[in-house]
Point group: C2
């Protein structure tokens, strides 16, 4: 049967398998050896970068939905890798940050993850790395635009 579509040149497929392979390879570092899930890892990185945040902000920064964030935070609190204190401006929310143990754990994992990333990016010249991130930016932007157009004109919200 004649068809124009071949998976090897189909971006959704290529992007999906690449992401999966990357994730499997990377998660060996923090999942198998430190018992940290992908969601928990993202929360750790974000709090390490920003200091103190509400769960909602973590979700926005990581593109995780609130259920994922809630469960990841619960797991990290169980292991006392996070601290939670009430937010005085809004008593529904809480402020999260890494505990001392969380910082120590993060500092053990981070260099290994960075080394792994260097090894993955090794075959790419610096300019190619820039290009790669620029292309990803463009595609995400375009997707956002496509979503907007798809939901527009569907009657009043």
């Amino acid at each position: 049967m004649r068809n124009a579509l071949s998976l090897t040149r189909f971006l959704p497929y290529r992007c999906n398998t690449l992401a999966r392979k990357i994730s499997v390879s990377l998660s060996r570092i923090y999942t198998e050896r430190f018992g940290i899930s992908v969601a928990e890892w993202r929360v750790l990185v974000t709090l390490a970068e920003y200091g103190e945040l509400q769960a909602k902000q973590v979700g926005e920064l990581t593109s995780m939905d609130k259920v994922q964030v809630s469960r990841a935070v619960a797991g990290l609190l169980d292991r006392e890798l996070l601290l939670r204190r009430p937010c005085e401006r809004d008593s529904r929310a809480a402020l999260l940050c890494l505990s001392a143990a969380g910082v120590r754990l993060y500092q053990r994992i981070e260099p290994e993850v960075l080394a792994w990333e260097q090894s993955l990016l090794a075959p790419l010249a610096p300019a190619e790395r820039e290009t790669l991130f620029a292309l990803i930016d463009k595609l995400e932007l375009q997707l956002a635009g496509m979503a907007d157009r798809a939901t527009a004109g569907q009657g009043p919200v």
Copy 2:
């Protein structure tokens, strides 16, 4: 806390979210409107391209593992979009191909998917598209090498 790692410049994260957004956007076409899952879609595309294949070959061509293939094929057979006949050389295996209904369905979906892909790739010049696929190729190659090295030297197999 000072750290070198920021999610916005971390390839695993960027690749993961991009793949997820692409998948959500695309699957609106075949999931919501035709009731085809991602795995089933890949089987359809592969059989449309290659004609008649064993489940194992479908798995190799699509990077799906055999459980995924098995379930996708079962779903498609239920809806009579596939034909299965015994393989005379190996009676464990079966040969799969699209049924007439499967071809018709595929021919309805394919143009919509191609149009969607064009719309996604619209902001990329032809040369940029080539670059993107080349970069993905390089990264997958590197990952394969990293996996080899990781499993090498772990004692006799």
